[in-house]
Subunit: 224 residues, 2 copies
DNA sequence: TTTGCAGGATGAAAATTTTGATAATCGAAG
DNA sequence: CTTCGATTATCAAAATTTTCATCCTGCAAA
């Protein structure tokens, strides 16, 4: 499941991202009207979280333009405005749901979940990078159209790497992401080595290229 | 680690609770000045998150009263006010940190973590219920002063049950809490049976009473 | 009371995750 | 170009988590 978050409050956007990633969604963040405009037409998302008050333009116009193109991804408006008029206007323009700030993340998550249920499940919940294909709905991974068996942690790791593609992420943050537990800092994160290793092995044994680069002293990076 | 959250925005309080619980903290929520006043003197917490604008009184007064009693738990102020004066006043009154809204949860978590590091680690990070003693710092469990070996999931389960003591929690929400993953709904949650079972076994084998009651068709409850 | 079933308990097997030991590699300092 | 210490890779063992099959129990209908 791929989610586009259009929200200029960085803090909020990041906590949404953190929360939803932990739930297995792949999130992308956009902070302005113009960025939104381009992204929204370039890529296919399962769900778009749209803030109404954006620098550079109103969120509703974005939604309007979007629907005019017959894009039919799910759109959830998140807005500080709680006026009935706005809500109605948003829904008229084709938003699927409206959530007023402040909301709590589990609420958002529930809305997304039920939205996804309503929508045709068999959308393009598929990421494809050359020979690698990930079905975010069924949480399965194909290499050269052949399914490979991957564990939960490996899958999480894969998504985390891909979600930060071309960016180096430290062993520590991988560990944090995978453990789902309390900040470790002091703990030892060696299990990351194993997961990285196993993931690489599984992908390459299935004939995949090796996108996972290790950057000495820095961390790992999913290249291209 | 036991955290008291004094915050009247329910949505915010709940998302904080959700996030911190996942990190292994035990959270309690309070929404008003007066409640805060009583709670704060009755119990011992490791950390108090204090909103400044509360129904029934100002948070700073609470903090003042609190310090007057020589209580020295860590206090982190969370406030929508971002004025320097407020920040200074808060810190003068003995707050340990000041976080302006909106913040993101990982930031809060980091602050709590570093605060705990600064404070004397060997506080009363211990919950005691009769023969059962839980050290939230070292994440260890004693029954009749004898340490028992408990796994991460079992520990999480124990804290989740205790954190909701005398309240029935469903198998589903236990599963959600333990898996740290995406909402399942459809998945099968039978592994909860096993964890409940193992936890009960470990506790009773060590001579503990059986506080975990199973409520047919409803879930489980930590009784007293 | 008896019966039938859904929910729950239990234990062992299967799968996954984590740890630990050891080897390989990198990059800085000499 | 070596050497050294720190970081990463690799593999197997240990520990934990999850699944699975089977049994038990509480509840409701007959």
């Amino acid at each position: 499941m791929k989610i586009l978050i259009i929200e200029d409050e960085i803090a909020l956007a990041e906590s949404i991202t953190a929360y939803l990633s932990k739930e297995g969604y792949l999130c992308e963040n956009i902070t302005s009207y113009s960025e939104g405009l381009s992204k929204i037409f370039d890529y296919k998302y399962d769900c778009i979280l749209l803030d109404l008050m954006l620098p550079g333009g109103n969120g509703l116009e974005l939604l309007e333009a979007f629907r005019r193109e017959n894009k039919n991804e799910g759109v959830i408006i998140i807005s500080a405005k709680d006026r009935v008029e706005d809500k109605i206007k948003g829904l008229q323009l084709g938003a699927d749901d409206y959530l007023s700030k402040p909301f709590h993340l589990s609420e958002l998550s529930a809305r997304i979940y039920s939205l996804m249920r309503r929508k045709n499940f068999e959308n393009t919940n598929i990421l494809q990078y050359n020979e690698l294909q990930i079905n975010l709905m069924s949480k399965s991974v194909l290499v050269d159209k052949k399914s490979i068996k991957i564990t939960k942690k490996e899958y999480q790791l894969l998504l985390f790497l891909i979600g930060n593609k071309n960016r180096v992420i430290s062993k520590g943050s991988i560990a944090e992401h995978l453990s789902g537990d309390m900040a470790d800092m002091l703990d030892n994160h060696d299990f990351v080595y194993t997961h990285i290793n196993n993931l690489k092995k599984k992908l390459s044994r299935a004939g995949g290229e090796d996108y996972i680069k290790s950057i000495y002293g820095m961390g790992y990076k999913w290249e291209l």
